[in-house]
Symmetry: C2
Subunit: 294 residues, 2 copies
């Protein structure tokens, strides 16, 4: 099987994502621009990478999974746009650049988010896989709707809002993160595996890896908010402590948080046994996310 590097996937996603943003046929291009803007300041493209690589390690055609990868990145991006709005986190800066509503105004940012969310499902429904194997597309849409909905990502935002400005116990934090960031990461692994029509054993292994990876990712995020470099992060550090929010660091201490992240990373890597020596990319991804500086 052809192998791909981080950069291959990164370029593959960035090189095509714009073409999936619908051009408005009705004179006004503002929402189209706002959607492209927020997609372009997107970060590491971890979710689409996971879709593509899990498709590959499960023996699927990576190219055919690209629309699924892009759809997931659109859902992730819409959630950031809506999360930054004044009525939510009220963040003016996203990855060192003005947030969507700062650049385009609140109304267009709201609609750009709605537009990305709406489009994501259409991209899957229009894909080659949907043409040849509509049953797979239906499965993907069902999972995407569930894992980004009120029992997935949106549910995480609800738990976050309800616990805003109060110190939540670790059980709440775990639920919050397994929904808010974990759900889409698990969805990525699932989508990749089903694009390759993988068997249940492989699907489960993919989701186990992703569950541990997502959890570790969030703990490292909390660690970086304490010991990170503002220039590398593109945002001020110490914001969690300032807002009085519980984090893994505030609840466990820096050292134990670090240990937990390392253990979860090891668990993620162990889940890859099913994929034998095809799993290098995913191993490296887990270790590099655990050691990341931003």
């Amino acid at each position: 099987m052809n192998k791909y590097t981080f950069d291959d996937y990164y370029n593959m996603v960035n090189g095509c994502i714009d073409k999936y943003v619908p051009v408005c046929n009705f004179s006004e291009d503002i929402v189209h621009e706002a959607m492209k803007y927020s997609l372009s300041i997107g970060g590491k493209r971890i979710r689409p990478m996971l879709v593509l690589e899990f498709c590959r390690v499960c023996g699927g055609d990576v190219e055919s999974a690209v629309p699924f990868a892009v759809a997931l990145e659109m859902i992730h991006t819409y959630s950031l746009i809506h999360d930054d709005l004044p009525c939510m986190d009220d963040d003016d800066i996203r990855r060192g650049k003005p947030s969507c509503h700062i650049k385009y105004g609140e109304a267009f940012a709201l609609l750009a988010g709605d537009g990305l969310l709406t489009r994501a499902f259409g991209i899957i429904a229009e894909s080659e896989i949907a043409e040849k194997r509509p049953d797979i597309a239906v499965k993907a849409i069902k999972a995407l709707s569930e894992l980004s909905g009120v029992n997935g990502m949106i549910g995480g935002q609800v738990v976050d809002l309800v616990n805003e400005n109060r110190s939540a116990p670790i059980e709440v934090l775990e639920v919050l993160d397994s929904l808010k960031t974990g759900a889409l990461i698990r969805c990525a692994a699932y989508l990749g595996a089903i694009c390759a029509d993988a068997d249940e054993e492989k699907i489960n292994a993919a989701q186990l890896y992703a569950g541990n990876l997502g959890y570790a990712f969030q703990i490292v995020d909390d660690i970086l908010d304490v010991v990170g470099d503002e220039n590398l992060l593109g945002k001020p550090i110490g914001s969690d402590a300032e807002s009085g929010k519980s984090t893994y660091v505030s609840l466990l201490g820096l050292e134990k948080a670090r240990e937990a992240a390392d253990k979860l990373t090891d668990d993620a890597v162990r889940a890859l046994e099913k994929f034998g020596n095809e799993a290098d990319f995913l191993k490296n991804l887990a270790y590099s996310l655990a050691k990341r500086k931003h």
Copy 2:
């Protein structure tokens, strides 16, 4: 074929819509409540009725189309929630009751809208039709994404925003309405027809009917904003004139607007010839919407 009345469909939709709203499994029920609240103050259920009746007149099983009808109503409802937000139309009252964000706060209203939009696609993907005929579900999701996206309903909101507080010519108004309200009404007819696996001729007739119906509907809306009864409408009249927005009445005058609505209604009814004597419900719907008082 069994025939259904307005009330049958109304009760069919209202009787089941709550069961499609996902219960949050994670302690916080606010978004779930907000979604149910906004669905319950929903109005005439015209869109779901069109889905169900077009399924019937095309020879399909009405029950099987219910999830598609509910999905469309969820999209319609999310658009009202987001449209009422302070950064959009800033409306405190919706159908005589507090808007979602007045009752639940802006953040939860935003998430309730996102939740309904996300769920709509999942409902179709989980339906019996999706199980038996995933190709039909994929077609439906593609259409729903397009017609509610930036080249459909959201596009209409963009055109509306851009022309806010300025007098738009009738060509702009026509585009605006064919997107903002027309797109989902055409989508309803399309979904109903494809649930019945209708042939292209019937699908086209359904969409022609719906296009004319939606356009007439909007003109009547504008007329009611001038000559309507506030108590029946559940909102103050004269708001269009106050905001300086173009309407069919301000551009054509009351009499010509009335004539245009009647002509479009006749055109809608004429498009029903394909359905022979099964078309009574749809004829009556067109006439009753043209003559409505609210």
